[in-house]
């Protein structure tokens, strides 16, 4: 039986890496006594596959994972068992049984939505910067790699950017970008375009989607078809 689930990554777990999160979930599955299936071969691994990796420091209400089990059980039973065995800050919110041949999360998720909140100086001017970004064809950023730093134009991958709130020394943005293997924008690359004061703004991932024409589908919806 294959299950797809959505979970959250909140305080203080936002400070662990994607790899640490994966290990934490695997161990919770084991503690819960859920009959997870293992891969064949030299080094058997539990069949647990995550969606798009979340950078350290970012909270999320939209993390997705697929898990394969050797035995069946009810969804409510699954949610209760896993949540009872997770540290606070990680909570499974919904889940559904999916067909065994459902395409893996990694290969289908291509949109990510973020909420960016930070402190601003007197004249933060969020709206005018947003307008500038949307009016331009190119936003070049530098992405450090293992060997060399690459210059990348991320503008084509920014689908939506709007000011949700501005005033009293603080502001909030909503951002929709391309994610995955066919192009990827890191939310901090967009956040860095704004003059936040007192360090980094807080970033929250509010959605991961699969684009179908002009519609955005949730990974849980898509598994239906």
């Amino acid at each position: 039986m294959k299950i797809r689930a959505r979970f959250t990554k909140e305080e203080p777990v936002r400070f662990i890496s994607h790899l640490d999160l994966a290990r934490t979930v695997e161990r919770a599955v084991r503690r819960a006594g859920l009959p997870v299936a293992y891969s064949q071969g030299f080094n058997p691994r539990p069949k647990i596959a995550f969606g798009s990796a979340l950078a350290l420091g970012i909270t999320s209400s939209a993390e997705y994972v697929d898990m394969e089990f050797s035995d069946g059980f009810g969804i409510n039973e699954f949610l209760r068992a896993i949540n009872e065995n997770l540290p606070s800050g990680i909570r499974f919110k919904e889940a559904k049984v999916i067909p065994a041949d459902t395409a893996p999360l990694m290969s289908v998720i291509d949109r990510a939505q973020y909420i960016i909140t930070g402190e601003l100086g007197q004249d933060g001017g969020l709206s005018s910067i947003v307008q500038q970004i949307l009016d331009s064809d190119e936003i070049w950023i530098e992405r450090p790699g293992k060997k060399q730093t690459r210059r990348i134009n991320i503008r084509p991958w920014i689908f939506s950017l709007e000011v949700l709130e501005e005033g009293a020394g603080a502001g909030t943005l909503s951002l929709l970008v391309q994610t995955g293997s066919r192009g990827n924008v890191r939310p901090e690359e967009v956040a860095d375009q704004f003059p936040w004061v007192f360090g980094q703004p807080r970033i929250h991932r509010s959605g991961l989607f699969i684009a179908q024409g002009s519609r955005l589908l949730s990974p849980l919806d898509v598994a239906h078809h």
Partner: protein
């Protein structure tokens, strides 16, 4: 809370912030205000290292079992975090409830290795606690030391209020009870220390004066209060089988050392290697029954979700019931994807057979520790393995499909000559050729890799080598060069330790109380995390020695007279000095001494004087299989 907000701001800018967040699975958080005794378990290194320490897992569980006590973990911050904490005035805090170190009643530090000493000062300073015991007053915590290095606690004595010598499980509870009594009585700090000093195994350094001869050697260590013992006997948990062992471990998020279920199958080792301090201070050998270990494994696997069980001890293949234990655990856990590991294997084909049985995945590497390159020198150090043993073990390993073998050696051992060093290279070459021959049959000769790891010997207190001089540094380097020239084959990887670090370790291991001044000065100059080569600053340490007017070579490179009063003579490991002298003389004569588990008593006096004995479970019958 102000502190939480501050942390929130700091954490995004430091490496591996997961070290500082707490909130792990199985963490114990108690009501701070309603709990009487607050005990900090401080580990003088970073989280990634400290979380792997089994002793603290035991104490954490033991102390938190008590309703009147809470125990919380505190680790040294990495340099980036320390800088931020100092910049923002954030004190060193516990992971459970984020209280400053200074807010605890008792602050324990475990002394696992000498190069962690400056971390203790740094943590006290960051935690808001006066560095010297003598400077602390009524609101300050009592600072308690434990662990192997307290068998010579003198170099750090001024920074501690008291030390616990030997097994900690029982003493720590007696300390908590003494603390409660003292609090009810409402007397001064000395009142508590007097109570503590009355507990067997507790050493209150402030109650002892150290006098020196004109040549700098110790004249005497004498009590300056009535009613405190002249010598402090180590504590021994007589029955390890019934001793408390946690049924849950805190499960970290981030990658840490020994991140797995650890079963302490036994404590102590009586092999009697003459360089080994652990073999002295953890005696006698005490094994846990297989049934007990199986229950502990079951509870820990269920509560942690770990994917691996490791059987730990100083020499796990010596556990007398090892085969049935391994069979039992494999039968129970292999099918659910839980692996087994044996970290410390004896050098023989039996052990290789065990390793082969438990290996589930790829055969990544086997480690053997012949320690010395020639039989002559192995006899001197009483490492009772022969070249035939090593070659038989290596043969078994290659035949079972291993390609990589690691070999551990030491250089600078007493009586060592260049021939002994050459012997290391020859042995490595023989193992390599053996591997190529055996693996060659499957066309895999090219895959064979030997890594030769060579540490510089550091003489330790309470061992038969406690009187010797460390080998001169230039000589150690010459021998490393010699090996580098000999180990030319590209299939052999050679690694060694820095002689400067070995020198400092040698000073701290056998230093007296005056060395505390050097440690303090070195820390003031910015030394910390000395165990991390990238932070080790030898020049600063040498400046500190000069300013304190002490010669490091007096401690590291001086052969002591057998009659000399040693700075740690008042700490009683239970192994008599006469035995150590006899062992030293046998070493010089190249005579080996057998293991008292299997042959007769060797006369170390521990069992007679401490009323203890080796407890082996070997006779246990086959266990009923539950499945």
């Amino acid at each position: 809370m102000q502190q939480d907000k501050l942390l929130d701001r700091i954490l995004p800018s430091v490496a591996k912030p997961g070290r500082y967040i707490g909130n792990e699975w199985n963490i114990v958080r108690k009501d701070w205000d309603k709990t009487e005794v607050k005990f900090a378990l401080a580990f003088p290194d970073i989280y990634d290292i400290g979380m792997g320490h089994l002793g603290y897992k035991i104490l954490y569980y033991l102390l938190n079992q008590r309703e009147d006590t809470l125990a919380e973990r505190v680790y040294a911050p990495w340099v980036d975090m320390e800088a931020k904490m100092r910049e923002h005035g954030l004190p060193l805090f516990s992971l459970e409830t984020r209280h400053a170190l200074s807010e605890f009643d008792l602050v324990g530090f475990t002394l696992q290795y000498e190069l962690s000493y400056t971390n203790i000062l740094n943590m006290l300073d960051l935690g808001g606690i006066p560095l010297r015991g003598a400077e602390r007053s009524i609101g300050d915590p009592f600072v308690v030391g434990g662990g192997p290095c307290v068998f010579n606690p003198e170099p750090v004595a001024p920074f501690f209020d008291l030390f616990v010598i030997g097994d900690g499980e029982e003493v720590v509870i007696e300390l908590v009870e003494a603390y409660r009594e003292w609090k009810l009585e409402g007397s001064d700090r000395e009142g508590f220390l007097l109570k503590a000093a009355a507990i067997p195994g507790v050493y209150v350094p402030g109650f002892y004066d150290v006098d020196y001869h004109a040549d700098g050697t110790v004249k005497a260590v004498t009590p300056n209060r009535s009613g405190v013992p002249d010598r402090i006997q180590k504590r021994v948990v007589k029955d390890l089988d019934t001793a408390v062992f946690p049924d849950q471990f805190v499960v970290p998020y981030i990658d840490v050392v020994h991140d797995r279920v650890m079963l302490e199958v036994m404590r102590g080792c009586t092999r009697g290697c003459r360089f080994c301090q652990a073999g002295v201070i953890y005696r006698p050998v005490r094994e846990r029954r297989r049934e007990t270990l199986r229950k502990q494994a079951e509870a820990l696997v269920a509560s942690t979700g770990y994917e691996e069980i490791s059987l730990t001890s100083l020499s796990t293949s010596d556990y007398s019931g090892i085969e049935p234990l391994v069979d039992d655990l494999l039968a129970s856990y292999r099918s659910c994807g839980i692996g087994l590991s044996l970290p410390s294997l004896r050098l023989d084909s039996f052990s290789v057979g065990l390793a082969d049985r438990i290996q589930s995945g790829r055969k990544t590497g086997l480690t053997f520790a012949p320690e010395a390159g020639t039989q002559r020198l192995r006899d001197v150090i009483n490492k009772n393995v022969s070249e035939d043993d090593l070659l038989a073990a290596a043969t078994a390993a290659f035949e079972a499909g291993w390609d990589a073998v690691k070999l551990y050696f030491m250089i600078g051992l007493p009586t060592e000559t260049l021939d002994d060093v050459t012997g290391i290279a020859e042995l490595a070459q023989k193992v390599l050729e053996l591997g190529r021959k055996i693996r060659g049959k499957e066309g895999k000769a090219g895959r064979v890799k030997i890594s030769v790891s060579v540490a510089s010997f550091v003489p330790k207190s309470h061992t038969p080598f406690q009187w010797v001089s460390q080998a001169p540094l230039e000589e150690l380097e010459r021998r490393q060069d010699h090996l580098r020239r000999l180990l030319r084959d590209r299939a052999i990887a050679f690694s060694w330790t820095y002689v400067d670090e070995s020198l400092l370790e040698a000073v701290l291991a056998r230093g007296d109380r005056r060395v505390a001044d050097v440690i303090l000065r070195a820390w003031q100059k910015g030394c910390r995390l000395d165990g991390w080569s990238e932070h080790f600053d030898f020049a600063k340490w040498m400046e500190a020695f000069a300013e304190a007017d002490l010669d490091p070579y007096f401690y590291s490179h001086r052969e002591r007279d057998l009659e000399e009063t040693l700075p740690w003579d008042h700490i009683d490991s239970g192994i008599s000095k006469r035995f150590l002298i006899r062992e030293w003389k046998r070493a010089l004569a190249g005579q080996v001494t057998p293991d008292c588990r299997f042959e007769g008593c060797t006369g170390c006096r521990l069992c007679q004087d401490f009323d203890v004995r080796n407890e082996l479970v070997g006779g246990e019958g086959p266990s009923e299989n539950q499945s």
